[in-house]
């Protein structure tokens, strides 16, 4: 920003460029928020209902020692919360990013204004953060309604899930701007998201995985998010959790730095 004010920015002054880019997305979102809210509510209700109660009643009957002695719903709900934050992060950072240069050309329009590619990127990323935060909030409410959290610490599961969502959104958006074709996204969802969802201690504890697979799962971001959300929801709070958060923050920072570069390279040709 220092370089900008030195060059004497627009006579009109006005809010920071990143905020200006973010506000554009708010205008767009105002048009569709109703339908998007409904799907954000329906998703968790279905998931927690079917898996938590349906599958849960089966699991609970066979003993929950491996789950740490809590009912399956209490074990599962915070993990699904983390997973849904990841899904929102991926949804918002793939097609909407490519679409903004290819289909509705929001970026191309914005580019002709004072906004620079890094502003356009960070503004969009702020909007992704807002979408993730909204969805996670709704999830938290549904989770409480189902009686899943075991502790008031669950309020910290919320920021943990937002961190996780952004740990996906920032680097994926930085990459999505570089792809030529939306087919690439199918790989992210099929070979990235689904295995992560299945093997990150989401539906069953990591200890159930074969020994050699456990470090692999632990190296991937979803497991850190699941661990954080679950610890807070169950009230198993310890100082060690800070490392999980740090891991996610590193991903967000790296993605944000990379995005400023990749957006500039793609938009300034």
């Amino acid at each position: 920003m220092a370089a900008l004010s030195a060059a004497g920015l627009p006579v009109t002054g006005g809010p920071p460029l990143t905020v200006r880019a973010f506000r554009c997305w708010l205008t767009v979102y105002r048009r569709i928020w109703r339908s998007s809210i409904w799907s954000s509510i329906l998703g968790p209700v279905c998931y927690l209902g079917a898996m938590g109660f349906g599958l849960g009643s089966l699991v609970n009957r066979h003993g929950t020692a491996a789950l740490g002695g809590v009912p399956y719903l209490a074990f599962l709900a915070p993990a699904i919360m983390a997973t849904s934050a990841m899904t929102t992060g991926l949804d918002e950072s793939t097609f909407p990013v490519l679409g903004s240069i290819k289909w509705n050309k929001i970026y191309i329009g914005a580019q002709a204004s004072p906004l620079r590619p890094p502003d356009i990127f960070r503004g969009h990323l702020l909007f992704m953060a807002m979408r993730i935060a909204l969805n996670v909030s709704i999830f938290t409410v549904v989770m409480v309604a189902f009686g899943a959290p075991r502790s008031w610490w669950v309020v910290l599961a919320w920021p943990s899930a937002v961190l996780l969502g952004l740990a996906f959104a920032a680097p994926i958006a930085a990459w999505a701007i570089t792809v030529k074709n939306e087919m690439s996204f199918a790989y992210v969802f099929r070979f990235g998201m689904i295995p992560l969802m299945l093997f990150s201690g989401t539906f069953f504890p990591l200890s159930q995985l074969p020994g050699w697979l456990q470090p692999v799962a632990q190296a991937l971001p979803l497991w850190h998010g699941v661990t954080l959300c679950r610890a807070f929801s169950l009230g198993h709070v310890s100082a060690g959790l800070i490392w999980h958060a740090a891991y996610l923050i590193v991903l967000i920072v790296a993605g944000t730095l990379a995005g400023a570069r990749t957006y500039t390279r793609r938009l300034y040709v």
Partner: protein, 327 residues
């Protein structure tokens, strides 16, 4: 400053082209994409209040030049200064004072006409109230005031173009950049757009435009350059270019196809600035068309049709860029 300044100039009180005030200056400007050189060392100056045109076939380097002036494409070489600033270092500050009408519309078709202007005005950091006032004025100017609350999607191509023009004026720009403003529009829609652009020009807005329509260039541009293969093939006012590269009159002769070649041979020595033989016609560039036709007939040739017309910018363009087929 409540309104768009140029829209409120009373007629006749328009600032004239001022050669003292250079808004854009390029020296040896180059743009390369990998091994391909799109713009190969061009020099020009744009003065406040003029309408400056880049004419040329597709691939001549017009759009690359526009993108460099629009500060969204860093030059590969040479010098470029816009509003006295450096496009690479001060891109954001320069763009705050430019209006851009890109070749392809970048409107958000799911928002309303008014919302499109709102989103855009907010990019420039303008307060809502000011945007509202300008929107009313600009929509009236581009004759879209009845559609203000409608979604953009169902609007016709011409209406979308006009909306893009209105949007590009939301920040009351010093320079309006138009990249092929009427490509793809039907003739009626083109005339409406020209009419609006002509009014802007009358009101003293500085325009830079690219086009491959000669009539567009002739109507709108005070000064233009013919660009071909990344360099300027010629520059001047439309009238100067016609005087320099064309003759006052052009005679078009059409012969029976069987006699075409023989006729070409026979009229070789008819006095003309230039002969041009096309597949179906022979063109003679002459000062006096009637006399040239008499000379042709004096050689015992009887064309199927003859046409005498004034030399146009199109003749200049085709002469300078060649009649090759490309796009």
């Amino acid at each position: 400053m409540k309104t768009v300044a140029f829209l409120s100039y009373p007629r006749g009180m328009v600032p004239q082209v001022s050669e003292n005030e250079v808004l854009v200056r390029a020296r040896g400007l180059i743009k390369r994409f990998g091994g391909f050189t799109a713009v190969n060392g061009i020099d020009f100056e744009l003065y406040r209040g003029e309408a400056f045109g880049f004419l040329g076939p597709n691939g001549a380097g017009k759009s690359s030049t526009m993108r460099m002036i629009g500060c969204v494409s860093p030059p590969s070489g040479g010098e470029l200064s816009i509003l006295g600033m450096n496009p690479v270092r001060d891109g954001s500050a320069i763009r705050a004072r430019l209006g851009v009408v890109p070749q392809e519309d970048t409107l958000d078709v799911e928002l309303t006409v008014r919302e499109n202007l709102l989103v855009y005005g907010r990019y420039f950091g303008l307060p809502r109230k000011l945007i509202r006032d300008r929107t009313t004025e600009l929509l009236e100017f581009v004759q879209l005031e009845d559609r203000a609350g409608d979604k953009v999607e169902p609007l016709s191509g011409g209406m979308k173009r006009r909306l893009t023009i209105a949007r590009s004026l939301i920040n009351d720009p010093d320079i309006l950049i138009l990249d092929e403003p009427t490509t793809g529009l039907d003739p009626q829609a083109r005339h409406v757009v020209w009419d609006r652009l002509f009014r802007l020009k009358q009101r003293g807005v500085t325009l830079i435009l690219t086009t491959h329509y000669m009539d567009e260039a002739e109507q709108l541009c005070d000064r233009l350059v013919v660009m071909d293969k990344g360099v300027f093939a010629a520059e001047g006012s439309p009238r100067q270019l016609i005087a320099e590269y064309c003759s006052p009159e052009v005679v078009e002769l059409r012969f029976d196809p069987a006699l075409h070649d023989a006729a070409t041979e026979k009229i070789k020595d008819v006095q003309a600035e230039r002969h041009e033989v096309l597949a179906d016609r022979i063109l003679l560039y002459v000062p006096d068309g009637e006399r040239a036709i008499e000379e042709v007939r004096a050689r015992g040739l009887e064309p199927l049709t003859t046409l005498i017309r004034r030399g146009t910018l199109e003749d200049v363009f085709l002469y300078l860029t060649g009649r090759r087929l490309e796009d």
